[in-house]
């Protein structure tokens, strides 16, 4: 299904022009981060190597590269998928582990402070703590 969304064959259209990397501000500040190298690995069928690569977590998801790619490759989205695959294979950065815990426990990323909201004259937020856990479970079972 990811194939359909991200058009796997399209990945073969990457001609390594490097436009994704040259427009990337993370690459500018940290030259070891090179999105076009990730694309190279994936199109060579060596995407599995990315899963252990801490580099995939350095992307800010700014979508600048996706907009720039002359071949219409959704670079940001592909790196994002690589992260999810890394997590599925057990490579989970602390930040993501914490976020997952928060989602599973509270259904949200940031816990609500309804008292503070009341003082600010804002309506109460109804929490549904088990919602995310139910969705994770549903997908796991599938």
């Amino acid at each position: 299904m990811h194939g359909k969304l991200f058009d796997k064959e399209r990945l073969g259209y990457c001609y390594q022009c490097g436009k994704c990397s040259s427009g990337c501000d993370i690459n500018r500040l940290d030259p070891s981060f090179q999105p076009h190298r990730f694309l190279h690995l994936i199109s060579m069928g060596a995407g599995a190597r990315l899963l252990k690569d801490e580099g995939i977590w350095k992307c800010t998801t700014c979508f600048a590269c996706s907009e720039r790619c002359p071949q219409g490759i959704r670079v940001t989205e592909i790196l994002w998928l690589a992260r999810a695959m890394a997590v599925a294979s057990g490579f989970v950065p602390d930040l993501v582990a914490n976020q997952r815990d928060a989602l599973l426990r509270t259904g949200r990323l940031i816990p609500v402070d309804n008292r503070k909201r009341e003082r600010a004259g804002l309506p109460q937020i109804q929490e549904e703590p088990s919602l995310a856990a139910r969705i994770f479970e549903m997908v796991r079972k599938h």
Partner: protein
Amino acid sequence: MRYAFYPGCAMPVKALKYEISTRSLARKLGIELVDVPEFGCCGYPAKSMDFHVALIMAARNLALAEERNMDIVGACTGCVATLSEAKEYLEDGDLRSEVNKKLKALGVKEFTGRVRVRHFARILIEDYGLERLRKEVVNPLGSLEFGVHYGCHYMRPARAHEYFDDPSNPVTLDRLITSAGAKSIDYTNKNLCCGLTIMGISEDTGLRLAAEKLECLSERGVDAMVVACPSCCIAYENNQKLAGRTLGKAFNVPVLYFTQVLGLALGLSERELGFEFNRIKSDKITGSLIL
């Protein structure tokens, strides 16, 4: 004008001034923002964990709005982009029917694709109209100069946002600010990302990104920076000191939400605009309040 208001996770906790000023501005303009208590997480954080989980989370919110026959209006660029992207993915019929089965199990009606998802700034332009907005201005902000920061997800991915603004040279927020009579400057790194998403992963790089923009705006001497997303505000306001340190500088750049700027021009009060929650105070800004 009536919309399902999607607050997300960050705004209701970390950006009270944004929520207060958005609701006040909408009320003032006769735009009805309806709360939907069942709305959950937009799915953004789950995208780094499981594609399907994230998609179901997003689809559930889309379907809840459809059940109520309302379009969604959000104010967090991350939420708006995530929900819009999900809507685009779900144009795929097979994926949609698979997701709809899950929604049924969650007790939600199916998602058909008819709901629209837009940022509050966008509906002000597309549905309310700049001309009409200009007529509401009672306090033209001619003496104030702002540096607008769009935030990456405000207009990207452009396809998911129906190309409503230019992905590399956006203009819509500038137009809103100038409609309020204020000046919105052009500056070199207008397109730079706030860096907040990588805090906790590569903190130095994240702070450097924020610092570069703050440095530019500080040198230009703007009265404030203007943002349209809670994450961007955290990066530039809450983290301003930390960001400054990466360049050995101490910045003092006030950060306002665009809703606060528009509210000022429309004569709303300090309280209605949540100014008590702004951390970097500016006498010039509060001095321009007429209430």
